[in-house]
């Protein structure tokens, strides 16, 4: 029986090759669909992996406290609250009071609030927009394992001073220098002095995580004053003194905060894994949405296949008649055309997967995106395209199979 299947497969391929151009053009629909779906999913997957590796680099014992309850959200009502470091769009925020509560929890070794202040810094009369200013504590570089090669981060004794540590791209954009140590700039009427310049942060394009390379860090107290004592904290980063105590510390922070919040769970205390998943949540949703839209082109491709198969069946009516006359059953005719449409779409799928690998290479080479296409995605894409061929090949194949042999033979 397998040799028969092979014979039929050979016939299907021969039929497809007999109409090379038409087959190729038919496949284009499937190819475009597969390339777009696979690429979008690959980009989403790549960003997720980058976020995970970025947070992984911060350490497994990193505890993140964000406003809003991500464990009990109702259908994305608190969408923004699910983003790690997503301060500006949060509906809720944590207060300085919360920060002090957290600091008093036993075994909390380091805390770093992140509080964003609006405004544009200016240097030498030029105002540069698109730079984020974040107020934080001296523990910040320690928690994120980030080095300050030029100068130093502000210390506990300097929390009142107008000191600032800047990201690498701020150095270039604001000062046009690599290490503008000791230089000063104006922000909200205050003159701030650059104390240090950070190393490159590992940034993730498309992620909701703020780009720290493009950020000016100031002491939290200064930030509070600049914001009239009302600097909203969108995230508090915490490290316990001992990594093995991470779980217990999370529990303690949660219960202490719950008490001060009057029993309302309007915040979330996350370990590293949860932080990653909460970050990827929106990304996942986006990926699904775009992939879904791209998937529509697969359906369009399927309709194209159906169209071509219908034409092909009509064209080959005489052949169908001959085949039936020499003993082909309806089922065998049906199988022949089903095989043809699924080979057509399957080959389209394989070409699509290969093309998306090429697109992947190009994206790696020319953009910041690092798409990652898993072999599972490739297999699924190929299977889906074959399924599209089966789905849209059924009607034409049935048409061919049910044709009366005499009528078919009369067809020229």
């Amino acid at each position: 029986m397998s040799s028969v299947a092979r014979g039929e497969l050979k016939m299907a391929i021969a039929a497809i090759r007999a109409n090379r151009w038409r087959s190729l053009l038919t496949m284009v629909g499937i190819i475009i669909g597969i390339v777009s779906v696979v690429t979008v999913v690959g980009i989403g997957e790549g960003v997720k992996q980058q976020i995970a590796s970025q947070l992984g680099q911060f350490g497994k014992d990193l505890i993140t406290i964000i406003p809003g309850d991500i464990h009990n959200q109702t259908s994305g009502a608190n969408f923004a609250g699910t983003n790690l470091f997503s301060g500006p769009t949060s509906q809720f925020s944590l207060s300085a009071q919360d920060l002090r509560t957290i600091q008093r929890v036993p075994h909390v070794a380091a805390t770093a609030p992140l509080s964003q202040i609006s405004g544009k810094p200016s240097f030498d009369g030029h105002t540069v927009s698109g730079i984020t200013v974040i107020g934080t504590s001296p523990d910040f570089p320690k928690i994120l394992n980030q080095k300050v090669p030029e100068g130093a981060f502000f210390t506990n004794n300097e929390t009142d001073e107008n000191a600032a540590v800047i990201g690498k791209s701020v150095a270039q954009r604001l000062f046009q220098e690599d290490a503008p140590l000791g230089m000063s700039f104006e922000f909200r009427g205050r003159t701030m002095v650059v104390r240090g310049v950070f190393n490159d942060f590992s940034n993730v394009p498309l992620s909701p995580v703020a780009n720290f390379d493009n950020t000016i860090f100031v002491p939290f107290d200064v930030a509070s004053k600049l914001a009239n004592n009302a600097a909203p904290i969108y995230t508090v980063l915490v490290k316990p003194d001992d990594p093995t105590r991470t779980k217990a510390t999370i529990k303690n922070i949660n219960s202490d905060l719950l008490r001060t919040h009057g029993g309302q769970q309007d915040f979330s205390v996350l370990d590293e894994k949860q932080a990653v998943s909460s970050t990827s949540h929106v990304l996942d949703l986006m990926t699904k949405l775009i992939a879904g839209i791209a998937g529509i082109s697969l359906l369009v491709g399927g309709v194209g296949i159906m169209n071509v198969m219908l034409v092909s069946v009509t064209e080959r009516m005489h052949e169908i008649g001959v085949r039936k006359a020499i003993g082909a059953t309806n089922r065998q005719i049906w199988r022949q055309f089903m095989l043809e449409s699924s080979v057509l779409s399957g080959v389209g799928g394989v070409i699509g997967v290969l093309l998306s690998l090429l697109v992947d290479v190009l994206l790696h080479a020319y953009t910041d995106l690092k798409p990652s296409i898993s072999w599972q995605a490739m297999v699924v894409a190929t299977l889906v395209s074959v399924a599209v061929g089966v789905l849209f090949g059924t009607a034409p194949a049935l048409k061919a199979a049910r044709k009366d042999p005499i009528e078919a033979l009369r067809h020229e």
Binding site: M1, S3, V4, R6, G7, E8, A14, A15, A18, H318, E319, G321, V322, R323, K324, A325, I326, G327, A328, T329, N330, R331, Q332, P405, I406, L409
Partner: protein, 292 residues
């Protein structure tokens, strides 16, 4: 036990006023090993009869027994398998699949039978050798002459070793030399015990048959046994009543002698062409012939 037994078989096309009776209560019994020529004017129901006997079509009324088995009510799949295993079709227009090689065309019935590739290539090769075309296995049908193409079609019809061969004007598109080749081949097949039915317009070809059936307007009007090598008596009459000149020829003063140069096969060819191309005249003359 007859291989074919038709009892009051009718075939109607269309509805109401447009109803067209292709077969009108035809009864016919054919014993195994007969070599039957079916003659008659175009549109007399010969092809419909062949299609019904070959399981491509079903009768509207009446009973058809193939190999003593009632076949008019069988389902499509069953009929397809009967076509595959018991019937070999040969068509006027050859009906080889143009995209397949000669060998692939011949193996096709075996593909549908589910035979393994090696086995079916072997059988098909043998069959091509039998029709004298073993050196053309990998040619495409378009590279063959008409006679060779029909021989390939015969090989395809025979490859499943069917009991019954149905040939609908197998020589209709061939010149006399190729016709002879094809008929000799069929006659050889007949000698091995197959039952053969063939439709022809050419009285000369009744030489090969053991029985000649004449049809007119969906009815069998004459049925005679004939010796192999003899033109059937009735067919001979038909032959001589077929005009060999057309009206245009008469007007132009072209005589029959100018068109037919004493060579009997050429005469037959001319006659055959007349009957197919000039159907009204052919019909008239055939009618005359059959009535006598």
């Amino acid at each position: 036990m007859p291989i074919i037994e038709l009892t009051s078989v009718s075939k109607l096309f269309g509805f109401g006023d447009a109803t067209n009776i292709a077969l009108d209560e035809v009864s016919l019994t054919i014993e195994p090993g007969e070599f039957v020529a079916v003659m008659g004017p175009s549109g007399c129901g010969k092809s419909t009869l062949m299609n019904i006997i070959g399981m491509l079509d079903r009768p509207t009324h009446g009973s058809y027994k193939l190999n003593d088995r009632e076949s008019s009510k069988l389902r499509a799949g069953r009929r397809a398998r009967i076509r595959r295993d018991m019937v070999g079709f040969i068509f006027q227009s050859f009906n080889l699949l143009p995209r397949l090689t000669v060998l692939e065309n011949v193996t096709l019935p075996l593909v549908y039978k589910g035979m393994s590739a090696a086995h079916r290539v072997k059988l098909a090769s043998n069959m091509l050798e039998r029709v004298g075309l073993s050196d053309r296995e990998f040619y495409f049908p378009r590279h063959l002459s008409g006679g060779q193409t029909q021989c390939v079609a015969i090989a395809r019809a025979l490859v499943n070793n069917p009991k019954l061969i149905i040939a609908d004007e197998p020589t209709g598109n061939l010149d006399s030399a190729a016709s002879r080749l094809v008929m000799e081949l069929l006659s050889e097949i007949h000698k091995t015990g197959n039952t053969i039915l063939f439709v022809t317009h050419n009285p000369e070809l009744t030489r090969y048959a053991t029985r000649v059936v004449y049809m007119h307007d969906g009815r069998i009007v004459h049925d005679e046994q004939t010796a192999i090598g003899e033109i059937a008596a009735t067919a001979r009459k038909v032959m001589y009543t077929i005009p060999t000149t057309t009206e245009e020829d008469d007007l132009a003063g072209v005589s029959v002698l100018m068109k037919v140069r004493g060579d009997s096969s050429a005469k037959v060819r001319a006659a055959g062409k007349k009957t197919t191309k000039n159907s009204s005249k052919g019909k008239k003359s055939t009618k005359k012939g059959t009535k006598k």
